[in-house]
């Protein structure tokens, strides 16, 4: 492969990733044929409600799906710079975890080991991945803590997690994740458990670090506001599948998939405070029994027989994104409901 193609090659390619869980009532298809790509330096937002499979997708990338209940189904492919990670040797996976792909989790309260100092926890990764001796690892750790905005890092190094606030702990998590200079950061709801003011700071920090380190970010969230601020591209997940991908501008201007439109309509509009909130009718179905045909059809205002009969593929939209919806082929079937208009644009 020549230099030019290598440059164009996406950093991370996920193809037909499926992760299933054995439960008493059958197999739960938490992630069912998800495909996307991530390029160096870009931020992809993975959006969806709880139960859509986004967290499981993230865990699957690193092979961290809880076994024996969960398993990545054969046929799934996760390629990092062309190297296949599904089914790879455990030692290779360990090198990738933290070293190339790092992860930040949602709950800073419980994601840090309560009996080890934060210094120890940050240093650990550095020593394993970057093979630095103890004293160098220590100064690196201090430097990282400072970089993420922890005051008096040289002292805080000896602190225990319970002595820090939620926002501080999340910063420590980020420091821990980035200490080994990964090329990809997977952030699973990094700000959901934090106060609103702290949220903004953390997002700011993430963007800053991304610019500085040139890494790609896979940001998983249910919060469209966060996506709007931080992402370059967005993939919307529903019922274990990706139902729409688009650039962030296109997505917010004209969401193609009815589910995306529904998500946006559910967000209160500060310009129209008296407007009634429109929730998407119905509930997210059980992962053991995804609906036939288009998985969204039971809750979709535009649905017709075709939707019940067959599941659409990811069809290309006019703007260049993709949408898993028959409306792309039959746009006249789109009904003019408030649901479908989305925020911004239509009066």
């Amino acid at each position: 492969m020549d230099a030019a193609s290598r440059r164009d090659m996406p950093l991370l390619e996920v193809e037909e990733l499926s992760t299933w869980f054995r439960t008493r009532s059958g197999d739960a298809h938490a992630v069912d044929g998800v495909s996307f790509q991530l390029r160096a330096g870009e931020t992809l937002g993975l959006v969806g409600e709880s139960g859509s499979g986004k967290s499981v997708t993230a865990l699957s990338l690193l092979g961290l799906v809880p076994r024996p209940a969960g398993r990545i189904v054969t046929g799934s492919s996760v390629r990092l710079r062309g190297e296949e990670l599904v089914g790879a040797d455990e030692r290779r996976l360990r090198a990738v975890r933290g070293g190339e792909i790092a992860m930040v989790f949602q709950e800073p309260m419980t994601s840090l080991n309560p009996v080890l100092t934060i210094g120890r926890q940050v240093e650990e990764g550095i020593r394993i991945h970057r093979r630095l001796p103890a004293n160098e690892a220590r100064s690196e750790a201090v430097r990282m803590l400072e970089r993420v905005g922890i005051p008096e890092p040289a002292d805080r190094i000896r602190a225990y997690p319970h002595q820090l606030s939620g926002g501080m702990r999340q910063r420590v998590m980020i420091a821990m994740a980035l200490a080994c200079r990964p090329s990809i950061l997977v952030a699973d709801e990094p700000t959901t458990a934090l106060d609103v003011t702290v949220q903004a700071q953390i997002l700011e920090l993430l963007l800053d670090l991304q610019r500085e380190l040139g890494m790609a970010i896979l940001l998983i969230t249910h919060d469209l506001g966060v996506v709007a601020e931080v992402a370059d591209r967005v993939a919307v997940m529903y019922a274990g599948r990706i139902v729409e991908t688009a650039t962030v501008e296109d997505l917010f201007e004209a969401p193609a998939h009815p589910y995306t439109a529904g998500l946006m309509a559910a967000v209160p509009d500060p310009d129209r405070p008296a407007q009634r909130l429109t929730a998407i009718p119905g509930n997210v179905p059980e992962p053991t029994r995804w609906p036939d045909g288009c998985r969204f059809h039971p809750r979709c205002p535009h649905a017709w027989e075709r939707c019940r009969g067959a599941e659409p593929g990811l069809l290309e939209t006019a703007a260049g994104g993709r949408s898993r919806c028959w409306l792309i082929e039959e746009p006249d079937r789109r009904l003019p409901t408030a649901f479908s208009s989305g925020t911004g644009g239509e009066p």
Partner: protein, 327 residues
């Protein structure tokens, strides 16, 4: 940390006082007194009366109680009827032996128990786990004295006695003084093997069960997921991260096992003729040697209280959340 220890220490004092008092009450509940042991129709009653006066048994109870309390400060616990020596000396001889036996047993209990528990948790539902679970339950149901006897039987059987020379009674061999330094250590060690196993095995099984549960719970925690996501080798995740957290509830469990441990010494020392406090108490009770019984009973209670105190301090030492919170 200092504040925490100080507080715990202070809290132990009323408990110790309670133990002293309770021991006194218990002993004086019984009908009869030490002189009944000597009761013999040939002895004229006024000699018995004299004996009672000598032993101070004719004074009113509150006075006797104060005497008993005072003895803790003077260190003079009276005189043993059956051994014709000061009680303090008798206890002084026996106590270290019991501490040695209990101490080594405690080590066995926790090392074996934790190791088994960790193995089970890491290989949950495997053949090893299921076998160990059933085995642990079976061993946990075994009475210590019977285990001791069966061990003696085993070791004395023609099959094993040929090559395995484990003593079945006493603390040291007859020729102990003539052995070199290393020989004496080995001699003591060999004498410890059977009693320690008999005393500790059942409790080790109990600890194994708890440890398994604790490890399983810890391994499901978020921070273990973080550790794995950092790419740490699994061994590091289990031993460095999970184990340290799983041990915390076990340390607080230590306190609960102490009464069982010390109670067990009574039977085990009897079975193996180990010259410790358990055997001392038993013989003293049979001989109605009240001063010794009182002192020994008190001491057992005190050992448990002190042991619990140490366990609490140990817990504070290993759990930073307690250490830096002052609670």
């Amino acid at each position: 940390m200092l504040r925490y220890s100080g507080r715990r220490l202070l809290g132990a004092i009323p408990l110790l006082l309670g133990i002293v008092t309770l021991t006194f009450i218990l002993l004086h509940l019984a009908p009869g007194d030490p002189t009944t042991a000597y009761f013999n129709p040939n002895i004229p009653p006024d000699v018995i009366e004299q004996m009672r006066r000598n032993l101070g048994l004719d004074r009113p109870l509150p006075v006797q109680y104060l005497d008993w309390l005072r003895s803790f400060f003077t260190g003079h616990f009276g005189y043993s009827f059956s051994q014709h020596r000061p009680v303090a000396a008798v206890i002084g001889d026996a106590l270290p032996n019991t501490l040695l036996l209990s101490g080594i047993s405690l080590v066995l209990i926790f090392v074996l128990g934790c190791a088994a528990g960790v193995v089970q948790a890491v290989r949950q539902y495997s053949a090893a786990d299921q076998v160990l679970t059933l085995l642990a339950l079976a061993i946990y149901s075994v009475p210590g004295f019977w285990l001791g006897l069966m061990l003696i039987l085993l070791v004395s059987s023609p099959v094993l006695s040929g090559w395995l020379h484990l003593p079945i009674s006493g603390m040291v061999s007859i020729d102990h003084e003539y052995l070199g330094w290393w020989g004496r250590v080995a001699d003591r060690a060999r004498h410890l093997v059977l009693p320690v196993i008999a005393l500790g095995l059942a409790s080790a099984a109990g600890v194994a069960r708890y440890m398994r549960g604790s490890m399983l719970e810890v391994v499901g925690q978020d921070y273990i997921r973080t550790a794995r996501a950092k790419g740490l080798p699994e061994r590091r995740v289990i031993l460095g991260h999970a184990l340290r957290n799983a041990l915390l509830p076990i340390v607080s469990l230590l306190g609960l096992y102490l009464p069982l441990l010390f109670g067990g010494t009574v039977v085990i020392e009897y079975v193996f003729s180990w010259p410790g406090m358990g055997r001392l108490l038993y013989n003293a009770i049979l001989a109605r040697d009240y001063p010794v019984v009182m002192a020994a009973t008190f001491l057992f209670g005190a050992l448990v209280v002190l042991g619990n105190l140490l366990a609490d301090l140990l817990y504070a030492a290993v759990d930073p959340r307690v250490r830096y919170d002052g609670r």
